[in-house]
Structure formats: C-alpha cells, structure tokens
C-alpha cells in the first residue's frame, strides 16, 4: 500500500507540531525542576558559619559608633528607653574593662585599654542561652546564627541569666511607646519578651550584609568562617584578634581586632 503525498505531508505536519509542543513542555518542566531545586536548597547552607570582625582601631569618634548603632536600631525598631537598668539594645558601646574583664591583667597596651568597644550578641558556637531555653525559642541555626523566635518566647529570662555577655534584654516597657520612628519592613517586639541581635538573618538569607557592617564603611568585616578565602578569615589571620571571655569556652564568633 502506498501513501498519498497529501497524507504523507499531514503526518509530517503532525510530527513537527507534536515535537514543538513537547519541546515547550520540556522547557517548562525543566524550569520547574530548577525552581523546585532552588526551593529545596534554600534551607540548607552546608558549611556556612557566619562570623564578624570589628576593627577597633578604626572606630575613633562617637559618630563612628553612632552611625552603626543607629543603622541597626532604626532598622529593627529597637526602642530607646531612658531607664538605663531596663534599656533594650542590640548593639552598644562599652569600655575595655567591662567588655574584656578577664583580659585586664594581661599585657595589653594602655592605648588599647582606653579604646571603646562595640558590643553585640556573640552568636556563640556553644551558646549557653540555647541550652537553658525551656521552649526552644532561642536556638542555633545550621549556619551558626543564634536565633530568637519571638513567637515562642515566654519571657522567663533564663537566657538573660545564662548569657555571660549581657547581650539579652527584657522588654520591661511597652517598646512601641519608645520608638521615634518605625520601620514598616520589620516587626517590633512586645512587653514581656526577651530580644537580642539576630545577625540580620533576614538580610543574609537574601544575600545582603548586616546593617551594622554596611553602615560601618569598612570598619567591620563579615563572612563565612569556614571559607579560607572569605574576608573575615583574611582579617582574622592577618591581625591580632581577641574575643570576649574566651575562658568560658562559649566560642564567640565576633572577633575584635586590636
């Protein structure tokens, strides 16, 4: 049996149409699996361990500190409470003997001891606050950030007692009443929860640097501690660095270049 020319052309036509459709379909499915892979992968950042280095030599004037603190506190709606015993702070400034009480006896130059130091949550590798939290409101993420889930916090203050660095503050006052302006992109907190620096997890996850690092204009360094090529690793290896209260073996991940 022979095929008519007309039928042959029809079959070829169907064939071409079919392959174009399947090509398009394949393209869409291919893209879909790409997106799915991206969604699946977003949670796992294997081998990342975030750390910060602060160049204390570069922080000279009050304004240098102000700029950094303001950037953080404004972005995260941290209230400005006048009562010094019950204030709330994520990043603040203190003297050498208060920041490094056990290093005081060591042979560090007078000039260094007169400097002011920028203090914040150390995001310890071995965080005591995480161990004491009865509701797992504070926990360590895979990338080393010590996170505080405000939704779970019951305000028991155990973590404040456990933290050797005073990085945690309880909301004794309604925080909204002490805010001059609000950043609508970030929540506030409420009466009766504990809060602290969260290493700008929301910015890191979106591929940006923390607010303080950005505002410091090169005086602070941030990066992956596990990557030998990263900026923090470089500045840590090229300079003399100290951490706060190393004898407690909490393994802080905020390094001070002196």
């Amino acid at each position: 049996m022979s095929i008519k020319r007309r039928d042959f052309l029809k079959i070829v036509g169907y064939g071409i149409a079919g392959s174009i459709i399947s090509l398009g379909g394949g393209f869409i499915v291919g893209r879909g699996s790409e997106i799915l892979a991206m969604i699946d992968k977003q949670g796992e950042k294997k081998g990342v361990k975030w750390a910060m280095a602060i160049d204390t030599r570069a922080f000279k004037s009050e304004e240098d500190f102000e700029a950094v603190i303001k950037a953080c506190h404004q972005a995260h709606n941290v209230p400005n409470i006048p009562d010094k015993n019950r204030e709330v702070k994520w990043i603040w400034v203190d003297t050498f003997e208060r920041a490094f009480p056990t290093a005081e006896t060591e042979f560090i130059s007078e000039e260094v001891k007169r400097r002011k130091f920028l203090l914040l949550c150390n995001h310890c590798d071995n965080p005591p606050c995480v161990r004491v939290c009865p509701v797992q409101a504070t926990f360590k993420r895979e990338d080393g950030i010590v996170m505080q889930d405000m939704h779970r916090c019951i305000g028991c203050k155990f973590c404040m007692a456990a933290c050797p660095y005073g990085s945690r503050n309880y909301n004794f006052y309604p925080p909204r009443e002490y805010l001059a302006s609000m950043n609508p992109e970030f929540p506030t907190r409420t009466l009766g929860v504990v809060e602290k620096c969260i290493f700008c997890y929301h910015r890191l996850d979106e591929g940006k640097m923390p607010y303080c690092v950005e505002a410091s204009q090169g005086k602070m360094f941030f990066g992956n501690l596990n990557d030998p090529e990263s900026e923090v690793r470089k500045v840590i290896s090229e300079n003399i660095v100290i951490v706060r209260k190393p004898e407690l073996s909490t393994k802080p991940k905020v390094f001070y270049i002196i």
């Binding site: 997106i35 977003q42 796992e44 405000m150 609508p184 992109e185 970030f186 929540p187 506030t188 997890y201």
Partner: protein, 126 residues
Amino acid sequence: MYNTGKVIVGIIVFIIFFTIPFWLNLGKVKALPKPELPKDETKCVEDTDYMRAYHMQLLHEWRTRKIRKMQVYYMNHEGKLYIMSLQRTCMKCHTSKEKFCDRCHQVVVTHPDCWRCHIAPEEVKK
C-alpha cells in the same frame, strides 16, 4: 381540658414571639463580612477559597519556614515565588489591617495577637 382554644393560641403567640428575630431576618444574611480587596491585584498567594479557609495555616507555615528552617521563598501552586513575610508580602497588597483582616475577624470573634509586634500598615509612625 379547660380553655383549650386559649391555651393553643397562647402557645402559638409564644412561639411566634420568641422566633421574631428569625422571621425578621429571613432571607437576609447580614453578618457576612466585607473585607476591602486590593484594587490593582487580582490574585492572592493561593486561590481565594483556600486563603479564606487556611490563611492562618499558611502564615504559620511561613513563619516556621522563615525563622526556623532558614528559607526565604514560598512557591505557590502556579510556581510563582513570594518572600515569606507578613509585613513585606501580605500587607503590601492588603494595605489596611482594619479594612481587611479586622473586618472578618470581628465577625468570627477571633483576635490574633500578631499586631502587638507586627506593624500594621496604618500605624506606621513616620
């Protein structure tokens, strides 16, 4: 039996009296909430029926994934990506809490505590 007629009439009057609210509202549904929908958008994150019934579960899932599982994006059933955030995603389209969330919640008498911390679009202090 004494006064049968009067008693039956009494019972009927009694029943009618106590069911007046029902008769007055017959055929009218008044309590249906009318949340103000976004004008320049046509689609929610998932389809409208799903959102109506399960938005609290979606929000719960978002906050768990974002805070505890280190994820940023949510993919809906059409493959569109959204940043998982109450203030930065939901409230960018639904630009009023009072005219949207509250209108429904007042009817069903539920008081989610989210807004004690999360900033509703209308209470942004400049």
